[in-house]
């Protein structure tokens, strides 16, 4: 990381947004892990860290607010932008998105492990997943990897959406998803972000799961990255930071 990126990271880590993320995600994980003594360690870790509600209500808003914070403060700052080439701006921007998403994801993971140790029955036996008949730990690893990749895609998309209108639309969408997730039919759910990523759908085999999810992630990435690149071709500095 260069000097500018290090300063941006330091500033982000001192921000109120970052300080709120830990208790916020912690609260979500606490709600979903408390009183689940019937689960063993890996079952509960699996249930908590890949829970669609935690992804939608806790992970996504944390990523959204963090990316918007750095975009508004640094990538909408003409003093900085004028000194960089567009290629350097995009490189720094993507690097920071990657760093921030990874950081939040690690927070989610660490908090999940802590609460799982506290609230599971502390039986560390690895059991087989009842759908795919393979060890739960492998499913956990695959699901976490999918969520991580999806979070990065979401981070890149958020970076494109940094204006008030887009922020309001995204927030309302998140609220609608949270409110209706249980009653929405599958043909609508398929259009929701993270459909193939979270536990909203079940596949006939683990191979189908991996193939569908990979295709979903690749298509999403290409789509989002193309949209993202458009951002730097359009006018910038319309919505000023301060």
């Amino acid at each position: 990381m260069n000097n500018l990126e290090k300063i941006i990271i330091n500033d982000y880590k001192k921000s109120i947004i970052y300080k709120l993320i830990i208790p916020y995600i912690g609260l979500g994980i606490f709600i979903f892990s408390v009183n689940r003594f019937e689960y063993n360690f890996f079952e509960l870790l699996n249930y908590v860290s890949c829970n669609p509600f935690i992804i939608i209500a806790f992970l996504i808003p944390s990523i959204l607010s963090s990316i918007i914070y750095i975009e508004k403060k640094y990538f909408n700052n003409y003093n900085i932008l004028i000194r960089l080439s567009k290629k350097e701006i995009i490189k720094s921007n993507l690097k920071l998105i990657f760093y921030i998403v990874s950081n939040i994801f690690i927070i989610l993971l660490i908090l999940s492990i802590i609460f799982t140790i506290i609230f599971s029955n502390r039986n560390f036996n690895i059991t087989n997943n009842y759908i795919y008949n393979i060890p739960n730990t492998i499913i956990l690893f695959i699901d976490l990897f999918k969520i991580y990749l999806f979070s990065i895609i979401l981070g890149i998309l958020t970076s494109y959406l940094t204006n008030k209108k887009a922020y309001i639309i995204t927030t309302i969408t998140v609220i609608i998803i949270i409110s209706f997730i249980d009653i929405l039919p599958n043909y609508i759910l398929i259009f929701l972000p993270g459909y193939y990523i979270s536990r909203l759908t079940e596949f006939s085999s683990i191979t189908t799961n991996i193939i569908y999810s990979s295709l979903y992630i690749i298509i999403n990435f290409i789509l989002v990255f193309s949209i993202y690149l458009l951002k730097w071709k359009k006018d910038i500095l319309f919505e000023r930071s301060n």
Binding site: L4, D11, Y78
Partner: protein, 215 residues
Amino acid sequence: MKIEINNLSKTLDNNIILDNINMSLESGNIYGFIGRNGSGKTMLLKVICGFVKPTSGTILINDENALANNYFNNEIRALIEKPNFINNLSGFDNLKLLASINNKIDDKTILTWLDKVDLLEEKDKLYSKYSLGMKQKLGIVQALMEDTKIILLDEPLNGIDENSVNIIRNILLEEKNKDKLIIIATHIKEDIEKLCNIIYHFDSGKVTIVDKKTN
């Protein structure tokens, strides 16, 4: 350095912000853009910087199409609208951060510039604690410190005390004599009269009058 603007227009949501602007700007001059708020002065500065794309027309900087490039011209520095710094860094650290991006100048040069605008004593103070005038002076320093050939200043003397105004006016005149191309957008006639030798009057996105002063 030479900036040539040909038939440049910018429309936003069906509103014409810049309407068929034509001008030729050369080094060794201070150009004044004068007009009421919303007349298009600031938008033109943003277009020259490369932050905003015009709807039509071209900008040539030293005969090179500035709009075709995938980079902001590294010979341009600007103070647009209001200073934009990081609140929890000191004035000096903010300038150091900006200088570190291109590594063109050292700490000594930054300190010299801070001294010139009478901010040396306040260099370690957090930017958030700066007064409006101090923020403005810091904004001017960041635009000037790297000795670039083109300097764009939007309302540069806003909120600055009279003593400092005179210091900055002298600095700008010195920079002009170093063959810089300086553009000042303002609605304060006194700044224009004391500094600029060519004045463009803006009204509703159009250049209505061009005044050339003979020194």
